[in-house]
């Protein structure tokens, strides 16, 4: 299995939180902060207007926003974040058509060893070009990505773009050889999760989460399909792909796992249409310390849910 289980290693993403619109501003809805209690307390008191702070910026721009430096930026919780050792963040807005459902924010700690990548790709002149990205210590891979483009159907960004479906790729080091593999291999990148990010601004975006061997972005990935075209009108979802460092493959062509609305964490996402961040209850998160589930609304329906656990 290409998902490396290394319980000693710290993960690439340290904090995940969900902000939802209420009375014209984004308010704190959920968060998994681990032992960063002070930052959690500051966050719980915060709210963001349109265009304000990182979540408000993602809302206003209608696309994911990557923030690599807090100092001197529009980030509102800079001091608390610095004290918590957090140095960069990515905000992912969840739109259903033109309606903002929520903003998922993930925060990372920068150091010289932590490797992984969160990339935002945008269609430009018929090609997927890197719009922004956070790579931790994978500086060479960052440079390669900045100088790479993907036509339709090629590579993880091009594949997600043309299939309009989340895709989970294994073994990026050997399988990505046609374009970024050497660098991906050197960076220790193993598993890549790519997902379409619907945007009200009329552009096409693909977000990729690339996990590395030493500092995995997650140890378990799942892709759930809840399109009526797949599961009918009765709702629910089927697991169309998934791998786990502990359980191996999660997919089953003949008897796929299913989820029902409001049953379990994935069912909560299906029922609410909102992202879900959970921590501190391994019984609910496949035995892992935390999970993040992100819904994808396409063509007026809750089409997919991607989840990662670490």
């Amino acid at each position: 299995m290409d998902v490396t289980l290394d319980p000693q290693a710290r993960t690439f993403i340290e904090v995940s939180e969900v902000w939802v619109p209420r009375d014209g501003v984004l308010v704190h809805a959920q968060g998994n902060y681990g032992d960063r209690e002070a930052f959690a307390a500051v966050s719980g008191r915060e709210s963001f207007a349109l265009g304000e702070g990182l979540p408000g910026r993602a809302w206003a721009e209608g696309k994911p926003v990557v923030l690599k430096e807090f100092d001197g930026s529009y980030f509102k919780r800079t001091e608390a974040a610095k004290e918590a050792g957090l140095t960069s963040a990515v905000a992912i807005p969840v739109f259903d058509g033109k309606t903002l459902k929520a903003v998922l924010v993930v925060l990372c700690s920068d150091d010289t060893e932590r490797t992984g990548a969160i990339e935002l790709w945008a269609e430009t002149d018929g090609l997927m070009m890197l719009s922004d990205g956070y790579y931790g210590a994978a500086k060479h891979f960052e440079w390669v990505s900045q100088h790479t483009h993907f036509p339709r159907g090629q590579g993880l960004p091009g594949g997600v773009w043309s299939a309009r479906t989340p895709i989970l790729m294994r073994d990026l080091g050997s399988g990505y050889r046609f374009i970024r593999a050497d660098s991906a291999g050197k960076a220790g990148l193993t598993t890549g999760l790519g997902l379409p990010v619907p945007s009200p601004v009329g552009e096409t975006f693909v977000l990729t989460l690339l996990s590395a061997r030493g500092t995995p972005l997650a140890r378990r990935f799942e892709i759930w399909d809840s399109r009526a075209a797949k599961v009918g009108t009765t709702g629910g979802a089927v697991l169309i792909d998934g791998i786990c460092a502990r359980d191996g493959r999660l997919w089953d062509e003949d008897n796929p796992r299913t989820a029902k609305a409001w049953e379990g964490p994935i069912g909560t996402v299906l029922g609410s249409g909102l992202p879900l961040v959970m921590g501190g209850n391994p019984a609910l998160t496949a035995g892992y310390a935390s999970m993040v589930a992100l819904p994808i609304h396409l063509d007026g329906e809750h089409a997919f849910t991607v989840a990662w656990y670490c």
């Binding site: 299995m1 290409d2 036509p151 339709r152 159907g153 090629q154 590579g155 091009g158 594949g159 043309s162 299939a163 309009r164 479906t165 895709i167 989970l168 790729m169 294994r170 073994d171 990026l172 050997s174 399988g175 990505y176 050889r177 046609f178 374009i179 593999a181 009526a228 075209a229 797949k230 599961v231 009918g232 009108t233 009765t234 792909d241 791998i243 191996g248 493959r249 997919w251 062509e253 063509d299």
Partner: protein
Amino acid sequence: MQKLVVIGAGMASGRALEHLFDTQPGEWDVTLFNAEPRGNYNRIMLSPVLSGEKSYAEIVTHDEDWYAAQGVHCRFGEKVVAIDRAAKTVTGENGTVAYDKLLIATGSNPFIIPLPGHQLPGVVAYRDLEDTNVMIEASAIPGAHAVVIGGGLLGLEAAAGLRLRGMEVTVLHIATHLMERQLDAAAGFLLQKDLERRGINCILQANTKQITGDGKVEAVELADGTVLPASLVVMAVGIRPNVQLAKEAGLAVGKAIHVDDQMVTSDADILAVGECVEHQGAIFGLVAPLYDQAKVVAATLRGEEATFVQKQLSTKLKVTGCDLFSAGDFAEGPNREDIVFRDPARGVYKRLVIEGEKLVGAVFYGDTADSNWFFGQIRDGADISANRDTLIFGPAFQGGAPVDPMAAVAALPPEAEICGCNGVCKGAIVDAIKGGAVDLGAVRATTKASASCGTCTGLVEQVLASTLGGAFERNAPQPMCKCTDLTHEDVRRLIKSQELKSMPAVWQAGAWKTPDGCHSCRPALNFYLLADWPLEYTDDLQSRFINERKHANIQKDGTFSVMPRMWGGITTPDELRAIADAADKFKVPTVKVTGGQRIDLLGVKGEDLPAIWADLNAAGMVSGHAYSKGLRTVKTCVGTDHCRFGTQDSTGLGIALEKALWGSWTPHKVKLAVSGCPRNCAEATCKDVGVICVDSGYQIGVAGAAGMDVKETERLADVKTEEEVLDYTMAFIQLYRENAKYLDRPYKWVAKVGLDWVKEQVLDAGIRAQLVERFQISQSVYQKDPWAEHVKERAEQYVPVADLTKFAAE
């Protein structure tokens, strides 16, 4: 403990062993040979391994631990060289082992087309992990090209995988649509579009000539001369059961190893399973029946009764984001009915095939919800009469969403052009409606949409309906046929605005309710497509009326009439002799001079058509198209050469017009005449286009009639030169070709759009030049003598055919 030897560690034998160990643990001493250096893995999941969406580790079914736990003696990477049935032994490359029971599961070998160059390095089949790894290696070169020969299930999965790996991929498929065994043309079309959106190039009806390269693959050459660069060629054209060992052992072998219902071969101690077996004349390539066979094998080995029964099969394509399902039999048949659902906005096509009270086939594209339920209905032969009307909506139907006739228009993007005349897009109309223009008149006044030729009226009304919902009332337009709610004009507009260039594209975008149209819409669509896209669209012979297919007029006794063209009504003694000779030779019972100034040979037998055409061609004559929706005749009077009253060379002009216009397909037949003076001996004033020569030049009249209706032509223009007559006539004919409803004669069309609008187009020098240019482009494709072409290429078509069901009815 009984000794079981198994040859082949594939999915079928693996499943048989699972059943055996589950029910009789510890009772069998198993030796398992496998030519591949590994045990059982899920071969059908190699495609996602190729694409990088799965790892090999994930598709391993039985690992070392499993074999060890079951006590299986694994002899992997060792080929079996012989079976000695008398001694009951199997000999591998590394030694002999005895058996009480032997299970042959040698599977199949990929079929390699013996093309020149097929042995070059870089030509691979797609069968096992080694092939997959070769492909992954080949994809590591940036910008590398792959050609996949075979547009079936496996070939397309290979193509999608290679594309995701970064290759430039072309699929060559010999049939007219992809996966023709599992999909109908409509679903095949959607699949092709889907693959093309992924950057995969699909070439249909591709005839591969050779694979070329110096020491390794460099290109694939097609019969039409196309050369495709390739550093990898994947052959995915089918499989052949691997029966060599069984044959050498003297077992009964036909297409594959013969087995009975208990999976026992002609030797009672030897069983066979999987792709290497033939059961009741059938061989197997999908996994479901193999697993059924495996169950029976295990039961037979246990000494229990079990019977293998062949069942209906279903197919899914493992390409991420392609939702496709096919099951049962979906061929057309006399007692079969189709239920079709299309949603153009979502790219959904669903077709159920019903025979009597049973569902016998299903093809779904873009929406595979409930496919297992539908498959169950087919497999079980369930009586569906009680829920026939709602069947297409699946098991959860509760009142269900009805087919939305507005779907096609609702699916158009805001920038889609609705009114071609005034360049008004859907977004502008929607804005006007939202601004208060809530009926057709107001939309016309605000946007000018539908204010000119009016052919987009139906579409504008549909935009009104889809924008206003129940608040809009309109006069229901007459749909084209029972297949669609769209009018002819709507369809013509859709074809242009959506750049639809094939019939499946129109069926999908127009939410056709039938899988492939009917005898009414197919000829119309065929004309619309060839008129709008002469270079891209290929004329579909099967969508033509019988006269146009046979290039002769069928008569009431089943014989045909043959009429060569006589340019402008002028003939020669040689032509007359050739006609007389042909009449004698083929015993033509009636020779008739027609009102169109030519000679008709009536009573020709269908099978004599190619020969009589050949004779007439040899005398320099071409088809008079007396049967076609196209130019018929240009009638002339003798003009200034002979007539005292003639003002111009009417005969010469008539010949020039006929030579410019012949061969062009039009919505209905077109007849012309040129009279040399206003006395009008050629009766030009009741033709579709009639030219009256006068001292000052030429009066061009259009939209006359002398059939069911009689109507005088209306003056289009007065011009001074023959060149102008030709230009104005070609422009008028092209305008008619581009805008009229199929089977509307020009006079009916002009009545609908108004002569003023026609004049605005034809009299504008810029527009006229464009119309003439487009007409000439079309003529570059279609101005060909069909007789000569058919004598050369399709003479066999004129022998009587048995199956006429695929052709449009007269």
